[in-house]
């Protein structure tokens, strides 16, 4: 079930006895959580009607007991259980081991006969629905057979852009298209962060006057929050100005620069391997690496595709050499890591 379907179902009738919120996306999750609380509890009932558990700190059995015990103060309850992925056994997840653990907790029996008026939400926000986590997510969903599964998928860059444009239009903000793109890129297409930044912009006065990318970056430091991935993206596009700018932010934020190089090294090696295998489009790249035992997210495949587009084969080889030299230079006695990295960015984007 998608978040939109979940929200629609709440309008149609009472909530189910048990839900599994699966996936890492926070914006829709927060909307769904608030809608559920509003649907079940009045503001006065929230204090005693909303119980929180964390499966990283308590057991599933304790949660089931709590849900199965009638409450003195709240005829209707929501039991919110975070870190649900913690019940999966560590290491290799065998279905039998996971099922045995779930059975001993009494969750199966509870799901067959939930307490009326109690809605239990198992929240697994740390599991992705693709890539390495996909199998774990599927196994977790199997353990909660009987619970309605709501999937919270990450937004793709295009979806995040569309979301941001819609929000800008709805909130009547005067943001230029390049400002919108900057916001989406700088915040890694995380719509929860984007929604926060838009709220701040609205309060600052973006309804009254137009704002471009430069002003946005200058006015809202959080919107410039750079990370290793944005630097990788900028370098992959051979965007020297943006790369130097991002490097500056990373250094100011105390980022560990050898880690940045490690990411870049992997990126260029993957790109070179993809070129040598003759694959260039993101789906081809994802399929190629998954087949050879290196599972890859679509967004990562997209990054690799961007790198291939910006760096021909010879330049990729040179880039790997530059990464190696910069890595060695960082380990030498030197006046400043930033100088080494700036030289690296300069040479790479030449």
């Amino acid at each position: 079930m998608s978040p939109a379907q979940f929200l629609a179902s709440l309008k149609k009738g009472p909530p189910a006895g048990c839900y599994l919120f699966l996936g890492p996306e926070h914006y829709q999750r927060d909307r769904c959580r608030r809608a559920l609380v509003d649907a079940v509890l009045s503001p006065e009932e929230v204090e005693h009607g909303l119980t929180r558990h964390d499966l990283a700190e308590t057991t599933l059995a304790a949660v089931v007991d709590d849900a199965a015990s009638f409450s003195l103060f709240a005829p209707k309850r929501i039991v919110w259980v975070s870190s649900t992925e913690a019940i999966l056994p560590k290491g290799r997840v065998t279905e039998a081991a996971a099922a045995e653990r779930a059975a001993s907790s009494g969750i199966e029996a509870y799901l067959k006969n939930p307490v009326p008026g109690v809605t239990v939400v198992f929240d697994a926000a740390r599991l992705d629905l693709d890539g390495d986590d996909k199998t774990k997510a599927e196994k977790l969903a199997k353990l909660f057979t009987g619970a309605l599964v709501i999937e919270f998928r990450r937004y793709t860059v295009e979806e995040a852009l569309a979301f941001t444009r819609d929000q800008v239009r709805e909130q009547q903000l005067k943001l230029s298209p390049d400002a919108i793109e900057l916001l989406v890129e700088a915040l890694g297409a995380d719509v929860a962060c984007i929604a926060n930044e838009l709220e701040k912009l609205r309060l600052y006065g973006a309804r009254e006057r137009a704002m471009g990318a430069e002003e946005l970056a200058a006015m809202i430091p959080n919107a410039r929050a750079a990370n290793v991935f944005s630097l990788v993206n900028a370098l992959a596009r051979r965007d020297r100005l943006r790369s130097i700018d991002l490097l500056d932010t990373l250094v100011a934020g105390g980022e560990y620069l050898p880690l940045v190089l490690a990411f870049l090294g992997t990126q260029f090696r993957l790109a070179l391997a993809a070129v040598e295998a003759g694959v260039t489009s993101p789906p081809q790249i994802q399929a190629h690496f998954s087949k050879s035992g290196t599972p890859m997210w679509p967004s990562r495949a997209q990054q690799v595709a961007q790198t291939i587009a910006a760096f021909p084969r010879e330049k990729l080889r040179r880039a790997i050499r530059l990464v190696f030299e910069a890595d060695r230079a960082l380990r030498d006695a030197r006046p400043d890591d930033k100088i080494v990295m700036e030289a690296f960015v300069w040479n790479l984007t030449a």
Binding site: E47, A61, S71, L72
Partner: protein, 370 residues
């Protein structure tokens, strides 16, 4: 600072302070006790910032002053000393020389400058008989919520009226309330405060060492609660937030009432609970044709059943209960007979001591689905 103190006195006060001292060492100074020697007495202070205790014992003060020493190591060492006088000399560099007979020890301390100040106790609001307060705590403390996130029920509600004192605890599934008559002329109208569980445990410790006639002076300011028993003052940070409206959930009437022998019921529950699920301790209570039947089963272990004769001719009732919830009450309550009031398998049940032990003691417990 230098003082000479009787070993037993010192060990007793340090032992009391040890219960309050911060166990986690996130703030190092809080692992220490503050020692202050002046005017013929030694004052020992310990705090974890939530709770504080200050106690005194007689001492021969050679040189007045103060210093802090690691609470656990100091207590562990003092306990091992022979029953004799102990000389403690804290030097300028915060090291302490401890001498007792032919034993000499040096212990590294810390400056008292960084030790937090405890608030002074305001004028006492009420003097509550220590044994009475101890009894109220014993009858309610087990029902306090364990989850730290539910901070409004992480302690007990203390309600003072000019003619009574009431204590209430709940974890959301059960509620223990006990009200006792008491003459509290200093209380005007109604005084309510949320007492943290840790403070209650320390109070029990203090009360256990007091005489039968001892009284606890109680007062509170905006943020703290104060309990003074003799030379000892316990200071606790008030829990904030609103305790649930407990009077609303106290059943007004009951459809059925059974009278049961406390020890018989307790024994039966304990035996049946051996075959209940280890974590939920859920047992089934069936009442039908003058019999109360307790039953539990574990598919791979076995099952257990106990039957108690009762006077009951109503409709058959089957209720699931957490056995631990019932046992907790049966251990805390006195008297021979208890009353069990109930309606059906989805309504609150209530247990009370028959005759009331001179107290209005009510224990409301919600059933569980099994």
């Amino acid at each position: 600072m230098e003082f000479i103190v009787n070993k037993a006195d010192l060990a007793r006060e340090l032992n009391l302070a040890q219960g309050v001292v911060e166990k986690k060492t996130t703030i190092l100074i809080l692992s220490n006790v503050l020692l202050e020697a002046a005017d013929g007495q030694l004052t020992v202070t310990a705090t974890d910032l939530e709770l504080g205790v200050r106690c005194t014992c007689p001492a021969r003060v050679v040189r007045p002053g103060s210093g802090t020493l690691p609470a656990k190591r100091f207590l562990d060492y003092v306990r091992l000393l022979p029953d004799a006088e102990v000389t403690v000399k804290v030097q300028e560099n915060h090291w302490a020389n401890i001498t007792c007979g032919r034993s000499k020890t040096r212990l590294a301390g810390m400056s008292r400058e960084s030790y937090p100040e405890l608030p002074d106790m305001p004028e006492a609001l009420a003097a509550i008989p220590a044994s009475l307060l101890g009894g109220l705590i014993a009858r309610t403390i087990f029902a306090i919520a364990m989850e730290e996130t539910r901070f409004t029920i992480n302690g007990s509600l203390l309600v003072l009226k000019p003619d009574s004192v009431t204590m209430v605890s709940t974890d959301g599934h059960r509620l223990a309330m006990v009200e006792a008559p008491a003459e509290l002329p200093g209380v005007v109208g109604l005084y309510k405060a949320l007492v943290p569980k840790k403070a209650m445990l320390e109070l029990v410790k203090m009360i256990s060492e007091s005489g039968p006639e001892a009284k606890i002076e109680f007062s509170g300011d905006d943020n703290h609660l104060f309990f003074r028993l003799g030379d000892r003052v316990l200071t606790g940070r008030k829990l904030s937030g609103n305790f649930p409206d407990y009077e609303r959930v106290l059943p007004k009437d009951h459809q059925y009432t059974l009278t049961l022998n406390r020890e018989e019921l307790r024994g039966s529950i304990d035996r049946v609970a051996q075959f209940a699920d280890e974590r939920s301790k859920s047992i089934r209570v069936g009442i039908e044709d003058n019999e109360l039947r307790l039953f539990s089963s574990l598919s791979d272990m076995g099952e257990s059943e106990e039957v108690i004769s009762v006077e009951y001719t109503g409709a058959p009732v089957d209720i699931g209960f957490n056995a631990a919830y019932l046992s907790d009450f049966l251990r805390a309550v006195g008297g021979t007979e208890i009353e069990f009031h109930f309606r059906n398998g989805e309504s609150a049940g209530e247990l009370r001591p028959q005759g009331g032990e001179g107290l209005n003691y009510r224990y409301v417990v919600m059933p569980m689905r099994i």
